[in-house]
Subunit: 392 residues, 2 copies
């Protein structure tokens, strides 16, 4: 039994009065961890827990409910006693810190809505060209949530970073069993990103998701949120921050989450870590393989522009004739930095239509290409999204 | 006057008896530096010297004559007295070395043919979307030459690298004036690449190009050749090698030669250095804008597969109708690792043809995409090559 399948009330008890400030809606009686029947999320693996929502559930709202927010873990959820919890900050700093949740809560609180996306989103689409390893994700490991917490920059200022600081490492409290060792999930971001204070901080140490304390699946009691970067940089169950002159040597920064042809030492070192995500999108409804009558068809989906503060989705296009003609879709979501857009379109399908294709462009020059090069780990699949359908 | 516009005989005199061993053809009387009238190379800048050949000259032979081999420099050619020249090897090594050319010549000599290409090849094609900085290269900064010299791995073994060695830095003897400082051109490669001994060494310290001593424009008396990597890693006028646990901090590795949207600190650090080159190609004949009669047309060009030892050009295709139909081209060059292929094709053009398009695929999954994302420095333009023509 997962020790964290607790109700919110139980969570608060277990949390021993963790300071949840600025909650703008009343506490909900229903806990937001994924249901055991797997209706809220489709679990690709259960140990560790890796689940994504049905796409039709995913696009029901611009802010993704926590129960439909994908879960990506590399180890069992750690059991953290928040009374004993503290965050350590060390490395190239003048003043190393050990901060309890209450001490963190003294810092100014920031609220932001930001989309997280797994670098392996749409990974399965690579398999037609050559099987790729890792969790076999469809287009569901993406979600847009309200986050609340403290600016990493404020913590680093308190710690007084030294001049040689170049990267900020994050280390989780999870325990990942690799061949001969147990390691935490970890990663790092460049110091320039880490030091952005606002209006949207470069990184937030979040204790709340969708106006609730983080659920165990999402990093309770504390995680990083790095807007614009692939989800792997938003380290869950954050326990340690190290300021360094080098990128993190943690496996998930130094080796995994890279675009490589093979997973050999040369390929690893020739490739830089993935930080920012490129534009991506998908058709969410109807379901793949749906049989529809010829004529008008309403479809919907999501698009996430390049992970840059000023990047916005600019043109979302649908083709029913294999890329010859394109219909422009309309956005329905909110226009907000580092957030996805939802869209819908009405297209005409004929007996010759065998698939719908979606592509998009953004204001920073990003676009979904017709095809992307295969890579061994199946990352950053953002080519034209093809949905097979049958027209009766 | 460039002090290195010397004949080969003069070079030998200036070189004071530099050990040019294993020359398999007699010394030529004609010096191979680019002619002063600019017929052999089109100089985009002359101070420093940056020239590329006319494409029709480029594809006349599989091995590019030195006079038609592109020149990419960041500073005036340094004046190096080979008698006083020595290469230093330092950093994470047990035995730092200072090697004269004669001492280097004691090492086993390696011969290889390899293509070098500037990361900025075809840069001008980005300008239609947004002006990019740097030398305004067309499709000429690429060439295939015979190189001869010593395996970097043999030098590093002599120096006995320490366990913490991760990257090998190269530093040139050129002096590049930047805003407030003078720096050498430099860069680094991962240790795994550097330690490859054969059959094709991961990197060669070359003193010969096309069976002649290096010309001043190409790095006399010593340069690195790193097969499979963009030209910038093949540092000319090599004076120093540093073994390190970090990539080189030299501007041309740490900042320039990266794919960035803007040249600001976040973009620089978010992007890894470019090492390996992706597949690329171009139509070399006829010239752009040529008026040709309707009917059959013979065209030719080059293709360079992804910079991996086993990657080979697999399919080279030409379209005369804007990408609807494709004709397969035939390769005419030699099939050799890390080398380009030349190709030709006979296509049919009609009064509706306004351009020829070339694309290619390679055996490692590389392909020339229809379009590539714009980047501020204009690197790695390898989209479909479009040649405008007029059919009379």
């Amino acid at each position: 039994l997962n020790p964290y399948n607790l109700s919110r009330r139980e969570l608060l008890i277990a949390g021993g009065g963790i300071a949840v400030t600025n909650l703008s809606i009343p506490a909900l009686a229903v806990e937001t961890t994924p249901d055991k029947l797997g209706k809220d999320l489709i679990f690709r693996t259960t140990d560790p827990r890796n689940g994504e929502p049905e796409l039709s559930n995913l696009v029901k709202s611009w802010v993704t409910p926590t129960k439909h927010f994908y879960v990506r873990s590399h180890a069992p959820n750690p059991q953290i006693d928040v009374n004993k919890f503290s965050l350590t900050v060390e490395g190239k700093v003048r003043t190393p810190l050990t901060l309890t949740m209450n001490q963190l809560s003294q810092l100014p609180r920031h609220h932001l809505t930001a989309t997280l996306t797994c670098a392996g989103n749409r990974r399965v689409e690579f398999n037609s060209e050559g099987k790729v390893g890792g969790v076999q994700w469809a287009a569901g490991p993406i979600g847009n949530a309200k986050w609340s917490g403290f600016a990493l920059a404020d913590v680093l200022k308190k710690a007084e970073i030294l001049e040689e600081a170049r990267h900020v490492w994050f280390e989780g409290l999870d325990e990942i069993q690799r061949t001969n060792v147990v390691i935490p999930f970890g990663g790092s971001i460049p110091i320039e990103k880490a030091m952005i204070t606002g209006p949207i901080p470069g990184a937030v140490l979040a204790d709340q998701m969708n106006e609730q304390p983080l659920s165990p699946d999402h990093g309770y009691p504390l995680r990083t949120i790095v807007p614009g970067y692939v989800g792997a940089r938003s380290v869950k169950w954050l326990g340690k921050i190290v300021v360094s002159d080098k990128p993190s040597p943690n496996h998930y920064l130094a080796a995994a989450y890279k675009l490589v042809k093979k997973t050999d030492p040369i390929d690893w070192t020739e490739s830089g870590p993935i930080y920012r995500y490129p534009i991506n999108g998908a058709i969410a409804t109807p379901d793949a393989g749906t049989v529809v009558p010829a004529g008008r068809l309403d479809i919907s989906g999501y698009v996430l522009p390049t992970g840059l503060r000023d990047s916005r989705a600019q043109r979302i296009e649908i083709s029913t004739d294999n890329g010859i003609n394109w219909t422009v879709a309309k956005t329905t979501g909110q226009d907000s930095a580092f957030c996805w857009q939802l869209w819908n379109a009405r297209v005409k399908v004929t007996s010759r239509t065998n698939s719908l294709i979606m592509r998009a462009f953004d204001s920073s020059g990003g676009f979904m290409p017709q095809r992307v090069p295969w890579n061994a780990k199946g990352y950053l699949q953002n080519s034209w999204y093809r949905l097979p359908i049958t027209v009766s």
